[in-house]
């Protein structure tokens, strides 16, 4: 269960959340791509105990995620998932991008 990133079918630029027009080539055709891992850039711990993180993926993609199944530190390579219950091992939960824009 990976994170789902939007990819421009013309120039392969990556986006999250999904965009309407590719800002690199101005194309309007996109496909969904799976991203299996990312790198933890920054984390914070909320008063309710949840750990929230910024995850980077290639192509200037920044994801806001909740760390599940353990804890994460900046610099860690981490597994990405769109399933909040996929917590048998540490992972970054990234809610699926919607098809509606």
């Amino acid at each position: 269960m990976s994170a789902i990133i939007q990819t421009c079918t013309n120039c392969s630029a990556s986006y999250f959340p999904a965009r309407l027009i590719c800002r690199h080539c101005h194309g309007t055709e996109f496909a969904d791509d799976k991203a299996d891992t990312g790198v933890v850039e920054t984390t914070t711990r909320l008063s309710n105990g949840l750990q929230i993180a910024t995850i980077t993926c290639p192509g200037d993609v920044y994801l806001i995620a909740r760390i599940i199944g353990g804890t994460a530190d900046a610099g860690d390579r981490i597994r990405l998932t769109n399933d909040p219950n996929d917590d048998t091992a540490v992972a970054a939960f990234v809610p699926l991008h919607g098809t509606e824009l």
């Binding site: 914070t44 711990r45 920044y62 699926l96 824009l101």
Partner: protein
Amino acid sequence: MAVSIIGAGESPYTRHPQPGTTTSRTLADAIGRALKDAGLTPGDVDGFAVSSFTLDPDHAIDLAWKMGFELSWLMQDTNGGASAGNMLQHAVHAITAGDASVIVVAAGDLMDHTAFAKLVARYNSATENHLSPLPLAGPNALFAMLTSRQMEKFGLVREDYGRIAVAQRQWAAGNPGAVYRTPLTLDDYLGAPLVAEPLGRFDCVPPVTGADAVVIVADERADGKRKAKVLSVTASYNADNQVGDGLQTGLRKCAPLAWERAGVSPEDVDIISVYDDYPAMVVAQLMDIGVVTDGADIAEFIDTRIHSRDLALNTSGGQLSAGQAGSAGGLHGLVEAARQLRGQAGDRQVHAKTAAVSGYGMVLYRHGSCANLTVLEAGQ
């Protein structure tokens, strides 16, 4: 044609609105105060701009109708913390073009617990689809991570941000309209419960119910009145496509032109209102508008200029102490600047001939996307 603010008003901010309080009545209260301050009546108004998150299902025209405004110019703004600068930018041009001669610019919200929860859960589709399901309720976690990045990049520590909060609370002591006025010590700041590490309670604005309004006219209508002349307003939208660290705001792009048009330099401006949703954003915006120069020792600037209150910064107490009345957050700083320039700031009055007011807002996914800078000058 020169355009000036000749009236400012604020509906008293409150953490716990009385039963029966509505967004419309709160806005009308602020507008009534601003018109009274300007020595005008609703019958004089021919232009109206409003921003509110909680006006639904009504719109600007419903408010105009219910207040009896008969208008030749009307707008509604959706830019949150940047709404004031945006409305002012449009209003200046409307007056200059002759589309209106007396414009009321207003913003406000009924921001009780229910309204706040509803607003942050469905702030935009990106939030609704990708942040609320985490779950995340509001932007604290996002600005906590931004603050961490700023601390790392510039070698700042929590005490540095605390000194900003402490100074603003000292200013708030002179503002009867601020919801928090009792002195805050650095120990209080550091000892407060963490909301989202490294942010503690005093890094986060208290949501309040309230509204702000200003009255803007062509200069020839302002003869003999104390006024805050609008020297320039510039704006930037979607400056970074939400890519990058968020440590630079759109002000980096639009501020140089605002200073140039105004003929005022950042080191000479007498009072500054920056959009203080978090202390880290105060730092970011002071850098972006050139008040803190690139490469400067930021911690020292905070200590010697802000903490000492040598710099007249957020003299109302800012949103951190006065409260954040939803979309009025950006207008609050403009009302304060107008009051200071017009000599109406009571116990917190400073000697000020020029003022700068920044707006910043609309977190699309990771940080704010809208920014603007207004430069004002006192006049008679």
